[in-house]
Symmetry: C2
Subunit: 437 residues, 2 copies
């Protein structure tokens, strides 16, 4: 893609309410545009990042045998009355009357709807275990939407639901998802810590949040940094390994301020390993047994033919929120550097040229064609402005690798720079192999 053709309305004017750096950066680089309070359009640059995150989340869900489907955004109020949550949910639920006067709502979450689908479809223990998920827009009518995509009204979320016959089986599904979440955040280039959490309006008695560290996060985090030294590769999906994995991760101290115990923290964690920072919740998993299946009569025949309420858990990842969270975690000292797997482009070519001398632009175009042939997703900055402005702009756009075609270029060597590192002179072949890695 040529930058001059990309729909990327870069702006310097920031609204006063853009207080955190992800909100500012996303507006500045034209990733999003507010359409009304707490509701955003995703412009091409932001959209690309969100789609990459979505795809990694999807692949990791598929890899544990979860099946993708799609529930609608607009739900009938009836099923929420059945579960008892219609009145509980409060004003954050966007309530709607359709033209016939029926009570509808924009789903803030999908426990009721998935239970309704499951009870009408599955009758026997033979069909269990089962995990279904979808990646769909949700709506919460926040009274004070803020922080851009981090606390907005319309948001994109992956939510999965597990169905098992017994508590024991259900906890295996829970551990499987726990492990899959750690792998997902790893692949996204983010360091996430699982922490025991309250269950809130979803319910149940077992729950973990996955929190990534960022100084601008919403909650205070106290943790033992050795948690980042655990190597995920040593676990597999066997029951024993999954139990061990969850034990290993939850034995190491990590708590939000809500659950912080200073005495315990200081006695369990060496001073040199203590992390005191802030964090952003990017995933939340729940086990709630028959909280929905019981009132909604979602019954399964067990082996003896007895009807029992299916045991359920639910598992969320905030896909649109992760775009903001990744910025909070990776935007420092005026330089944004996207983790490679979710960067909007693999590399950017920045030629120095002007109206009267387009030699470098032509060189850049040749390199562009070469890289395209290798399936490398490359942006070519063909905008006629001085190099200092270009660099400032690309410090914000955050593509991790730059190929600079300017005064330092030699016949067959080009300046190759990874953001936050020194540049080096490399041949095109060397650049290709760096980018293919």
């Amino acid at each position: 893609m040529y930058l001059s053709q990309l729909f990327i309305p870069i702006t310097k004017d920031l609204p006063a309410e853009a207080k955190i750096k992800s909100h500012q950066l996303m507006l500045q680089t034209g990733m999003i545009r507010q359409s009304s309070a707490g509701i955003y359009s995703w412009l091409p640059l932001g959209f690309k990042v969100m789609k990459k995150i979505e795809q990694i989340v999807r692949e990791e869900q598929n890899s544990i045998g979860a099946q993708e489907m799609l529930m609608p955004t607009i739900q009938s109020a009836e099923i929420w009355k059945e579960s008892g949550r219609y009145d509980d949910y409060g004003e954050e639920m966007l309530r709607i009357k359709d033209r016939q006067g029926r009570d509808m709502l924009y789903g803030p979450t999908n426990e009721e709807l998935i239970t309704d689908i499951f009870r009408s479809s599955v009758k026997s223990y033979k069909s269990l275990p089962q995990i279904l998920y979808h990646i769909q827009w949700k709506f919460r009518d926040e009274i004070r939407p803020r922080f851009g995509v981090m606390r907005c009204k319309e948001f994109f979320m992956k939510d999965a639901y597990s169905f098992d016959l017994t508590d024991d089986e259900a906890k295996k599904s829970y551990n499987k998802m726990f492990f899959s979440y750690l792998k997902t955040f790893n692949r996204l280039g983010l360091k996430a810590i699982p922490m025991a959490a309250d269950t809130g309006p979803i319910g149940g008695d077992l729950s973990h949040e996955f929190i990534i560290l960022a100084e601008t996060g919403e909650s205070q985090i106290f943790a033992d940094k050795r948690i980042f030294e655990i190597n995920l590769d040593k676990y597999d999906f066997s029951d024993a390994s999954l139990s061990k994995m969850r034990k290993d991760f939850t034995e190491i101290y990590a708590a939000t301020d809500e659950k912080f115990d200073e005495k315990k923290f200081n006695s369990e964690v060496d001073k040199k390993n203590q992390i005191k920072t802030k964090g952003i919740e990017v995933g939340h998993i729940f086990y709630f047994g028959d909280k929905y299946s019981k009132p909604m009569n979602c019954l399964i025949d067990d082996k003896s033919g007895k009807k029992i309420s299916v045991k359920m858990g639910s598992y969320g990842i905030g896909v649109s929120r992760l775009v903001g969270a990744a910025i909070e975690a990776n935007y420092n000292n005026g330089i944004m550097k996207w983790p490679r797997p979710i960067s909007p482009f693999d590399t950017v070519i920045i030629p120095s040229f002007n109206k009267n001398n387009q030699e470098n632009l032509q060189k850049a175009e040749k390199i562009y064609q070469e890289l395209k042939k290798q399936n490398i997703d490359v942006l070519l900055d063909d905008v006629d402005e001085n190099m200092s402005n270009k660099f400032k702009k690309h410090d914000l756009i955050g593509i991790p690798f730059q190929i600079i075609i300017g005064s330092k270029s030699e016949e067959n060597k080009f300046e190759f720079k990874e953001l936050n590192s020194e540049s080096e002179m490399l041949s095109l072949e060397e650049i290709k192999s760096k980018l293919k890695r």
Copy 2:
């Protein structure tokens, strides 16, 4: 995927309101499930088909330089008041009040919102032409939703918007999209006829519908069948070729009953070339100039610095509707056969086995592993039921290729059957190469 693990609630009970074959088939094979009147959940089988259609639509949009983005589902009523359509739109628009009492709505289309984005972002002729698109859920509060996903309330749609400086340039964008639509429907394995159409609530004076033929379609179609003989490969994206292409396609007689002229039809079309059938609209394109840009003040500086209203068109493809339309066009005499590019699986293996003899199931599992290695998306029917029931079921599921492991199998040859054709005995290598094609 093993069929026993697939979440595919096959049912024989059909509700009385399922009157057309796509609606019936989608419920029978567990592709969708109604969650409330005119609102459906997409279960894994239906979801897979819809995603394949979405991806082909996306690739063809990208190939003409259209840029993907995503606008939210919930819009402010303000911009609709600016364009003057808020009152016009009637009760099909789902109107919502948020918790602060503000007028919001669930977008039935996005001309206003894209104009709002464009006017705040683009100021100069240098940034034109531009085509932006998104694939997003829309809502129309139909008074009588019916025909399953064909006329439902919440539907998935690709809508694109073009922006040009002059009428002439804008018509080139229109022709480009016209051509891209023909290519898209071709790739989906569907025969679509473009027909001059009324513009309705979108507005403008130039519009074409793309209609695929199906006896159960909603409108009567009169056409010259030579339109299917035009080879798309002879055109390219040059202006001259695009003009010729549109001329070639629109010179051949084709009309819905609304615009049907019997005398003209009989004089222009040989009896032997006359098609009289029904059709389903799957795409609709509009050119409406400054209908939105003028009232909404979406101004561009032209070369002389004069501010002029940008010239716009909009271009829709009904992605969820196409799933139903593809069934209407390909489900005949009790047998559904998916066009290959959008089939939920590439092939199904159907072994004959029972509790006491699992030899064929084991053979099937080996073939399954071999095909998986070749990246062939294969379904293995490991359900213990008799072959006659299996065949009936797969006649509905509609995977175009079957590998049958039963009485006819030899040591190294397997029965390979394309739906609606005779089966043949092939080696695994031959099967692989048939499926890779």
